[in-house]
Amino acid sequence: MEDKKVNINIGYEKLTQEEINSHKNFGKVYQTYVSTGVKPMKVAKKFPYTKLLIVATVSTVVTVGVWKYKSSSHQNGKTPATAKTSPSSTNKAVAKTHDSLKRKFIHPPLKGVDVPYMSYNVQSSKGGMFTYKKSKITIPANAFCDENGKDVSGDVKINYREFHDAIDFFVSGIPMTYDSAGKTYNFESAGMLDIQGTLNGKPVFIKPGKDIQIAMSSFQTGTKYNVYKLDTIQKNWAYQGKSNYKMEKAQKTVIKKQVNIAIQQFSAKDTIAVKQKIDVVKQEEKKLEAEKPLPPVKTNEQNYKCIIDVDSSEFPELAVYKNVKFEVDPSNKDYNPKWATTEWTDAKLTRKGSSEDYIFTVSKGNIKHDILVHPTFEGQDYKVALKEYNQKYAQYQTKLDKKIEEEKKQKEAYEKMMAEFKKKEAEESEKRLEIQKQNELLEAKNEKVRQENARLAAEYQEKNSRSIEKQKQLLEEEEARRLVQNNVINYLNIKQFGIINCDNPDMLPQGAQLIPTYVDDKKDNLNNTTVFMVRKDRNQIIEFYPGHYCNFNPLERNFAWAVTPDHKIAIYSEEEFSKINKTKGEFTFEMTVLNNAFASEDDVREALKPYMD
């Protein structure tokens, strides 16, 4: 009897009403329920305390080590509100036991299979740029610090990967649901990325104001996407913003950049050369202008004259003439004829611009006189000068005409180039507007299709008649036609390392809600596994946890799979979905097990691809 654990206690100590009331706290239970996002499972699943303590310890470590993605449970369409209270701050006892019910927050469903990281080394002091497939990642200089906010130096290892379709989302195990204002949404994704940084194996952080810029390539059209960052502590996605991620805007930016580059290239390679040529011609014209011969003027006998020995290189306009006499302009009222016989220590002749006026400056000691003079010719010299002038002027005019012609030609070449460029720019602009227009039309059409789809789904559910089948077929064809893949760039400024998602939160599909039983082709039960359903007309994967309804729209193209206990994939094809003839009640999904082995994401892609198209 001593070994018996049962202790029979007759007349035991009763709980007082005060004790009962003090522990009766629905708020704490509810907070724990919400904050840990527990999922339905078989009633009273057993969790030994020894395991509970281990799980709780791991969870604590993860909370401190923010950088790693571990711990916690999946979010799901069942939690009614976002909760910010951690289990430890609510009901310790509940949290401790409750941890055992949680799945890991990021939970790759196939062991050893995940979307691989690409690693890049970036010198912290210089920053750098690298590409991942079609995406471009730009890191500014001195962008990293350690956990204490101190700058780090050396080669920072950047691990980077992207997720773009249902298979990426599936193998990564990253939750694709978003809880907001008491509702749970499923993400329709326009691309997701995961970026991490380490230095010598230790995590580094992005310094404030040193955002990493990522131009992420995507295939999704539309303007409905928001940006979210995965908060691994709160176990939910945190809304980051909406702008700058619209496909049209991104496309416009790309084209604008291309145009700017074109202008730069155009300017550097062609126009500068042409402009230089024009400048040379203009300089030559200016030089030629200086050589323009002055028309000879007859000497006025009434005025004083002086003979000045001029340097022909300084005064090319006078170089052609001989026996030039400089006549003192009558305006020199103070002119003294004695100056002509005075011995001056310095004399200088200066032309006033391109006129026929010259200033003759003479000086001696403190005495200095500026005399306005003009070149003139006497008698026969004038005739010779006039003849010379006519010849030289003709030569000058010919040279000038040539230069003017050359300048005109260069200007025409430049204008032609500019005209061509403007034409190209106009064409690009037109193309851009056309793309924008097409995208707007496409989005409007998509929205219309969705609305029509929802309306038909409701109608289908209500009538459940065969006549809807035809509409369904037509609708599917229309949706297939409107499914286009555009190469879109999403521009993201990353302030913190982590997982960033461009998504549109979407409600569960409507039309059919079945109580599912999942079995494989040997009728073995698959009810304890999560089922992944792809809405093929959207970039969306929905997880149905054990015990949950299976919600789908019978008018959409759906395809589902589950991971069997022996790590194989069991599928339920689009064709099988289309044959489901009920929208309510219980339904058994007989899934076909694929015999493929999965060692990498490529293996999964190869196995599921025939069913995804």
């Binding site: 009897m1 018996k4 654990k5 049962v6 202790n7 029979i8 206690n9 007759i10 007349g11 035991y12 709980l15 004790e19 009962i20 522990h23 009766k24 629905f26 704490k28 239970v29 509810y30 724990t32 329920y33 919400v34 527990v38 999922k39 339905p40 499972m41 009633v43 009273a44 699943k45 057993k46 969790f47 030994p48 305390y49 020894t50 069942k78 939690t79 009614p80 509100a81 009901n91 006892a93 509940v94 401790k96 036991t97 409750h98 019910l101 015990g547 949950h548 309804y549």
Partner: protein
């Protein structure tokens, strides 16, 4: 003899409870109505089966947490909601026992022991008699003990016992009669050895 379980609900109460369940299914925050209604019975149920008040509080919280997470799967098929909760509680308690982190206890009032006395057709209520019965109960395995607790200490109907332990009503009857025989034999042996 126990004819009507004190846990029986009138038809109006069942309908009202159904509405509360449906509300809780659509919005877990509305589970509060059910929590407030059943917190004390579940806590008492747990407390009478485990050692230590803290363990009872912890397990009770876990029972309601499990209930909240699984309520969408609950379907009314004649079994009262309370039976569903007690079944969760039984499973949770069993799990704790198996982990050896919580000790099993059987907490019973002298008044409640009278029902066992009635069934065993003995009029003796002496201290030694209580001692012998408690020792006899200690000889029972877990399932047997649960049946005794549910039937004699809590005066539940066989139908409800079947629902909580996930066995048929008849099976619960048959098993209980066998347990009574077993206790009787133990008591006889104890009497002789005394």
């Amino acid at each position: 003899m126990i004819n009507n379980s004190k846990y029986h609900l009138a038809e109006g109460e069942i309908l009202s409870e159904q509405r509360a369940i449906e509300d809780a299914k659509s919005n877990p925050a509305r589970f509060e109505v059910l929590y407030n209604r059943y917190y004390e019975p579940i806590l008492q149920f747990v407390y009478k089966r485990v050692e230590g008040k803290e363990a009872a509080y912890d397990i009770t919280s876990q029972v309601f947490l499990n209930a909240m997470t699984n309520i969408k799967g609950y379907k009314f098929m004649g079994m009262p909601f309370s039976s569903w909760l007690y079944r969760i509680a039984v499973n949770e308690i069993n799990q704790m026992f198996r982990s050896d982190k919580v000790r099993r206890a059987v907490k019973v009032d002298e008044d409640e022991l009278k029902y066992v006395m009635d069934e065993l057709k003995t009029a003796e209520e002496t201290e030694s008699r209580y001692q012998m019965i408690s020792e006899a109960l200690g000889e029972l395995d877990e399932e047997e003990l649960q049946l005794v607790e549910l039937r004699f200490f809590e005066q539940r109907a066989f139908k409800e016992i079947g629902e909580i332990l996930n066995i048929t009503e008849n099976n619960s009857k048959v098993k209980l009669y066998r347990i009574i025989d077993k206790i009787k034999k133990t008591l006889t042996l104890s009497k002789k050895s005394a």
